[in-house]
C-alpha cells in the first residue's frame, strides 16, 4: 500500500501500482542507471556460464584422450563458450558501463531514448536465454562462434556427393540468437550516438569529453556499420537452410568464402568493439590514480577514431590460409600492421600518464596496469599473426587461441574489473574490499598467464584449436595440464570477487560521493546518484570539470587552452 499526505492530518491510502513494487520498478524502469546495473548483472551471470563452459573445455583437455565430454558435446560447449563470452558477457558488460556512466560523465539526466534503452536490455536478456535454452533441446550451436560455411549448412554438395553438415537446430539457434542480439546492439548504439552528440552539458565540447565517452561513441559507430554484414550473413544462412537457396554452397554455384568475408567484416570490427570501451575505461582510471591529467588527450582520443576506421580494413587477415590473391594478402597484412600504430600510441600515452605521477596502487589501478601488460602481449602476438608466412604456420592452432585470450581476457576482462572496482562505489555507495580485490588481481594475473601463455607454445608445436582430445605422444601433455590448472586459478579469483561483492553489499565501507578524488562529472553526484542525476546541470570549462570545481584556484580552465 502507498500512503500520500494531501493536507494537514489527511492522507490517502491506495494500492501500490505495479511500477511501485520492487520487481515492477526494475521491469518497468527506463532509468539509465538501473538499466546499466541490469546489463552488468546479466552480463556477469553469463560470464559465470561462459566460464563454466571454459572449465569444462579445459578439464576435457587437461590430459590426453580425455573422456569428460563427447566430441559432439565438446563442440557445443566450446561454441557456446565463445558465443556467450563475446555476445552475452563482454558486449552487455561494456554497454552496462556505458549506460550507467556516460550520461553522468557528460552531465545528462538520462539517455536520449530511455524506452529504447530498456528495450535493448530486455532483448539482450531474452536473446541470451534463447541461445542458452538450446542446451535443453540438446542442440546448442556447435560450429564455433564464427559458424563457418559449409559446416553451418544442412547439407553440402549435390546428388550422390551430398554430405550432411548440421541438420539439427544448432545453427538455427545461433543465427536467430545473433539476429536478436543485433537488434539490441543497434538500439543501444543509436542511443549512445544521439545521447553523446546531443545531450552533453553546456561547455562540454567534443574535445572535452571524458575518454570513456569518446570510446563508447566510436564503438557505437562501429556497431552501426559492422552489424549489417553479420545480419545479412545470418539471414542468407537461414535461407540456405530452410528455403533451399545456395548462397554458401560451392556445389550449387554459391561460395562458402562469402560467409567468411561477411562474418569477418563484422568480426574484426567486433574485436575493437570489445576492446575500445576498455581502452576508454583505462584512460579514465589511470589519470585519477596517477594524480595527473591523461598524457596526450588528443592523441588518445583520435587514435581511437583511427583504430575504428582501420578496423574495417583488416578482416581478411583471418583468411590468409584460404588462398587469397597475393595483392589481397599484402593489403591486409599492411593494414593489420598499420592498426598497431594508433594502438601503440595509446599504450605509450598510458605509460607516460603513470610516469612521474603520484601513483596509488588500488585494486582498480592494479587491474588497469595489468591490462596494459596483458594487452601488450596480446597485441604483439597479433602483429606476429599479421605476417602472412607466420600466419600460414600457426593459423587455426592454439597460438591464435592464446592471442585472442590475451586481448579479450588479459585486456577487456582486466579493464572490466578495473572499472568495477572504480565505479562500484558510485553505483552502490560502498567500497569493495581492497585487500580481497588485490588478492583477486594477483590470482587472476597468475591464472591468465598460466592458462594462455603455454598455448603459444602449443600452437607452435602444432596443436590445432577446436580438437576435443589428443594423443598422449605429441608433447602437448604438460602444457595442456598447466593451462587447465591456470583456468581453475582464474575460477578461484572470480569466486573471490563474488565473495567480495556479497560482503561489500552487506557491510562494506561507506564510500562517500568521491572516494578516489576523481576528475569527471559522475563523481559530482551522490553515491548512488539520484534518479535525475543532477539537480542543476553542470557547466563545463575544461576536460576535468569536477577537478576544477574542487580546486578553483588551480582549475584547468585557468591554465589549459582547451
Amino acid at each position: 500500500m502507498a500512503t500520500r499526505t494531501i493536507g494537514e492530518g489527511v492522507s490517502l491510502t491506495r494500492r501500490k501500482s505495479f511500477s511501485e513494487t520492487y520487481i515492477g520498478g526494475w521491469i518497468m524502469t527506463i532509468d539509465h542507471k538501473k538499466i546499466g546495473i541490469m546489463y552488468m548483472i546479466t552480463a556477469f551471470f553469463f560470464f559465470l556460464i561462459g566460464g563454466t563452459e571454459a572449465l569444462l573445455v579445459r578439464t576435457q583437455l587437461a590430459v590426453p584422450d580425455g573422456k569428460v565430454l563427447t566430441a559432439e558435446i565438446y563442440n557445443q560447449v566450446f561454441t557456446m563458450h565463445g558465443t556467450t563470452m563475446i555476445f552475452l558477457f563482454v558486449m552487455p558488460m561494456l554497454t552496462g558501463f556505458g549506460n550507467y556512466v556516460v550520461p553522468l560523465m557528460i552531465g545528462a539526466r538520462d539517455m536520449a531514448f530511455p524506452r529504447l534503452n530498456a528495450f535493448g536490455y530486455w532483448v539482450v536478456l531474452f536473446g541470451g536465454m534463447f541461445l542458452s535454452i538450446s542446451f535443453l533441446f540438446g542442440q546448442a550451436p556447435n560450429a564455433g562462434w564464427f559458424n563457418y560455411a559449409p559446416l553451418n549448412e544442412l547439407t553440402t554438395g549435390c546428388g550422390a556427393t551430398a554430405v550432411t553438415c548440421t541438420p539439427g537446430l544448432n545453427t538455427d539457434f545461433w543465427a536467430l540468437g545473433i539476429l536478436m542480439l543485433g537488434v539490441s546492439s543497434i538500439a543501444g548504439s543509436l542511443n549512445f550516438v544521439v545521447t553523446i552528440l546531443r545531450l552533453r552539458a553546456p561547455g562540454m565540447t567534443i574535445n572535452r569529453m571524458p575518454l570513456f565517452t569518446w570510446m563508447v561513441l566510436v564503438t557505437s559507430f562501429l556497431l552501426l556499420f559492422a552489424l549489417p554484414s553479420v545480419t545479412a550473413a545470418s539471414i542468407l544462412l537461414l535461407l540456405d537452410r530452410h528455403i533451399g537457396t545456395h548462397f554458401f554452397q560451392a556445389g550449387a554455384g554459391g561460395d562458402p568464402l562469402l560467409w567468411q568475408h561477411l562474418f569477418w567484416s563484422f568480426g574484426h570490427p567486433e574485436v575493437y568493439i570489445l576492446i575500445l570501451p576498455a581502452f576508454g575505461m583505462i584512460s579514465d582510471i589511470l589519470p585519477v590514480f596517477s594524480r595527473k591529467p591523461i598524457f596526450g588527450y588528443t592523441f588518445v582520443a583520435w587514435s581511437g577514431v583511427a583504430i575504428g576506421f582501420l578496423s574495417f580494413t583488416v578482416w581478411a587477415h583471418h583468411m590468409f590460409a584460404v588462398g587469397l590473391p597475393l595483392v589481397a594478402q599484402a593489403f591486409f597484412a599492411t593494414s593489420t600492421t598499420l592498426i598497431a600504430i594508433p594502438t601503440a600510441v595509446k599504450v605509450f600515452n598510458w605509460i607516460a600518464t603513470i610516469y612521474g605521477g603520484k601513483v596509488r596502487f588500488t585494486a582498480s589501478m592494479l587491474f588497469a596496469v595489468g591490462f596494459i601488460a596483458m594487452f601488450l602481449i596480446g597485441g604483439l602476438n597479433g602483429v606476429a599473426l599479421a605476417v602472412v608466412p607466420f600466419d600460414y604456420q600457426v593459423t587455426d592452432t592454439y597460438f591464435v587461441v592464446s592471442h585472442l585470450h590475451y586481448v579479450l581476457f588479459g585486456g577487456t576482462v582486466f579493464a572490466v574489473f578495473g572499472g568495477i572496482f572504480y565505479w562500484f562505489p558510485k553505483m552502490s555507495g560502498r567500497l569493495l574490499n581492497e585487500r580481497l580485490g588485490k588478492a583477486q588481481f594477483w590470482l587472476m594475473l597468475i591464472g591468465v598467464n598460466l592458462t594462455f601463455f603455454p598455448m603459444h607454445i602449443l600452437g607452435l608445436l602444432g596443436m590445432p584449436r577446436r580438437v576435443y582430445t589428443y594423443a598422449g605422444n605429441l608433447g602437448w601433455n604438460d602444457l595442456n595440464l598447466m593451462a587447465t590448472i591456470g583456468a581453475f586459478i582464474i575460477a578461484v579469483s572470480i569466486m573471490l570477487f563474488l565473495w567480495n561483492f556479497v560482503i561489500t553489499l552487506r557491510s562494506g565501507e561507506k564510500a562517500g560521493d568521491d572516494p578516489w578524488d576523481a576528475f569527471t562529472l559522475e563523481w559530482d553526484t551522490s553515491s548512488p546518484p539520484k534518479p535525475y542525476n543532477f539537480e542543476v546541470v553542470p557547466t563545463v570549462r575544461s576536460r576535468r570539470p569536477f577537478y576544477d570545481k574542487k580546486n578553483p584556484e588551480i582549475a584547468d580552465w585557468k591554465t589549459a587552452t582547451h
Binding site: 539526466r109 528495450f119 538455427d172 536467430l176 539520484k530
Partner: protein
C-alpha cells in the same frame, strides 16, 4: 489544448526543477512496453524453432506491443 500550452509555459526550466519534482518526473516515465516487445520477440524466435502456432502467438504479441508502445501516453 490552450490549457496544456499555458501549463507548459508555467513550468520552470528543466534544469531548475526541485529534487522532488525531478523524482516525480522520472518516476512517471516508467513503461512496460519495452519489456513486452522484447518478450514477444523471444516468443517469435522460439516459435521459429518449435511450432508455427507459437510463432503466430509471438507475431500477435509483437503487433500488440508495438501498438501499445505507440499509443502509450507520454
Amino acid at each position: 489544448m490552450s490549457d496544456n500550452s499555458s501549463q507548459r509555459k508555467k513550468l520552470p526550466k528543466r534544469d531548475r526543477l526541485t529534487s522532488e519534482q525531478m523524482a516525480q518526473a522520472v518516476d512517471a516515465k516508467k513503461s512496460y512496453w519495452p519489456f513486452a516487445l522484447s518478450f514477444a520477440i523471444l516468443i517469435v524466435m522460439i516459435g521459429i524453432v518449435t511450432h508455427p502456432i507459437v510463432l503466430g502467438i509471438g507475431i500477435v504479441l509483437i503487433i500488440v506491443a508495438i501498438i501499445g508502445w505507440g499509443l502509450e501516453y507520454h
